[in-house]
């Protein structure tokens, strides 16, 4: 399931990929917010096998957020986590390339 739900505007998000020690090679973790007003904010990091990749975006604006994990082999594994304002939002053991998407919008009534 790629679409994970809603994130609130103004929040800070952080994503971690914990690379399995048995993985064959490095994994690339990318995050990008396509802003409703135009343009995009991005971040990226690399995890060696057994290591960790961390990306973050602060003060999200309204838009569409993509989190993409690109591993070396489809059998490479690890744990992908996303935190919003320090709280764990999503946490899943994954295998192979993975994409999570979120809609960033204001709180209703805000």
């Amino acid at each position: 399931m790629a679409f994970r739900g809603i994130l609130r505007t103004g929040s800070d998000v952080e994503a971690l990929f914990l690379s399995d020690v048995s993985n064959d090679g490095p994994a690339l973790l990318l995050i990008a917010l396509g802003k409703a007003t135009a343009g995009a904010d991005t971040d990226g990091d690399v995890a060696a096998p057994g290591g960790r990749a961390r990306v973050e975006l602060k003060r999200l604006e309204r838009g569409f957020l993509e989190l993409v994990l690109d591993v070396k082999l489809e059998a490479d594994k690890g744990r992908l986590q996303l935190f919003a304002d320090g709280q764990m939002r999503d946490d899943e053991a994954i295998e192979g390339d993975t994409r999570w998407t979120y809609l960033v919008k204001a709180q209703p009534g805000a």
Binding site: A2, F3, G34, D43
Partner: protein, 429 residues
């Protein structure tokens, strides 16, 4: 006249606005009703769902197939493991690499090396494990990933016992720790290019969400339109029937191919360099009796780095340069002599994947300089040695490697080793 003006104002502005607001509210309720039943819909509180959320789900589903190009862009060699499958025997007569590289094994491995030197022949066994496997349940991958620090630990012992002369002292054992770091750092130009490519896609997806949201609000049957857009197999006829108008998202495969290329190049860069820490601790006689009075304790700490490049028409083969520099502390047992020495080396390696292994050949120079004058033989210092190595796979997890070292200067022995390397196959979940 005033009544006519007020009536005109209400008809032109208030009523349409009111009708628009009613349509939006109606569409919002329809989107809330249909969202839970759409394929791939996550659990979201009903009051938080509107047509924009439905549109985001639709855009995600319609663009997901284009991300499959990430797999197609991977070269064939990426399907083959290139991780070394042997335990470390570096720094002993059983060293089977021209220049020892601190690239850890994946899980566990063993090497059995037959060594020939001026002192005769012997055999060394080396077993390598990843310490995370000792500290946690291997099935708990989250804990393993958290605890691991991309290193392995090798234990080396002579094959026929660690106290062959039965004098109560260990003849020899060695410990090796290899730690490796990726060659691509956060903020590198190649990584930024991949970020830009994904940023472009995210920007387009945000625009698509706005387009789909408006089309849902304008649809004659919001729920049917949402189901058609979120499902598989929609065509123009079915979209017109459900949404009241043909709806197509302009999605260019080029954007995803650009991302795939950028990712492949960035990962290639990450995989082609290494910087590692190489720690060695030896107790006993690392010459295995070749040199009298050579027993002691030896601690070596160094850095190793390497860079490799693809070559050949199919870019499967790689050649590279490896180098290491370390400091070695020696404390001899029989003479109570202690000394420091600098050691290191530089070498060339060529390798080519062969199924899950690799064929590799290397040639290099190693040196060790330092120590007390007159004790070079015991501390194995002040030499320059040429080393060569050849590694041939025997099976998916085993390989045969041959290493030869001949001193160019210094009073140290030539060495020949023939080793059998075996790596533990990883379980697949």
């Amino acid at each position: 006249m005033l009544r006519a003006s007020i009536g005109f104002f209400v008809c032109m502005f208030v009523l349409p606005h009111s009708a628009f607001a009613q349509r939006e509210a109606s569409a919002r309720e329809a989107c809330r009703d249909v969202f839970p039943s759409l394929p791939g819909a996550p659990s979201i509180p009903r009051q938080d769902v509107d047509c924009e959320v439905v549109a985001a789900l639709i855009v995600d589903r319609q663009t997901q197939p284009f991300f499959s190009v990430l797999r197609k862009a991977i070269p064939a060699r990426e399907l083959q493991s290139t991780r070394p499958s042997g335990a470390s025997t570096s720094g002993t007569g059983g060293q089977n690499e021209a220049i020892a590289a601190p690239q850890p094994i994946a899980l566990a491995a063993a090497t059995l090396a037959a060594v020939g030197s001026d002192g005769g022949s012997d055999a060394i066994a080396s077993i390598a494990v990843n310490p995370a496997m000792l500290l946690t349940d291997p099935a708990d991958k989250e804990a393993v990933a958290r605890l691991s620090r991309f290193l392995d630990l090798s234990l080396l012992v002579p094959v026929d016992g660690i106290d062959r002369d039965e004098d109560g002292d260990i003849d020899y054992f060695g410990l090796r720790v290899r730690i490796n770091a990726t060659g691509l750092s956060n903020g590198s130009r190649l990584l930024e290019q991949a970020q830009l490519a994904l940023g472009r896609i995210a920007e387009l997806d945000a625009q698509r969400v706005a387009i789909i949201e408006q089309q849902l609000v304008d649809a004659t049957d919001v729920q049917a339109c949402a189901r058609e857009l979120a499902g598989d197999g929609a065509n123009e006829e079915s979209l017109v029937a459900a949404c009241g108008a043909p709806i197509t998202l302009e999605i260019s495969p080029t954007d995803y191919e650009t991302l795939a290329r950028a990712l492949a190049v960035a990962r290639e860069e990450a995989d082609s360099r290494y910087l590692g820490l190489d720690l060695r601790f030896d107790v006993g006689d690392p010459t295995l009796g070749a040199v009298p009075l050579a027993r002691g304790r030896f601690l070596t700490a160094g850095l190793a780095a390497g860079r490799n490049y693809a070559f050949g028409a199919d870019a499967l083969s790689r050649y590279g340069v490896n180098a290491r520099l370390a400091v070695r502390y020696a404390s001899l047992s029989d003479t109570a002599l202690t000394s420091f020495a600098a050691e290191g080396g530089i070498g060339l390696e060529v390798r080519r994947p062969f199924e899950t292994q690799q064929v590799a050949a290397g040639l290099g120079l190693e040196f060790r300089q330092g120590g007390e004058e007159g004790s070079e033989n015991q501390t194995q210092t002040n030499f320059l040695m040429v080393r060569s190595s050849l590694r041939v796979p025997l099976s998916a997890s085993a390989a045969l490697s041959i290493g030869f070292g001949k001193p160019l200067t210094g009073d140290t022995s030539s060495q020949l080793s023939v080793a059998f390397d075996s790596g533990l196959l990883l379980p697949r979940r």
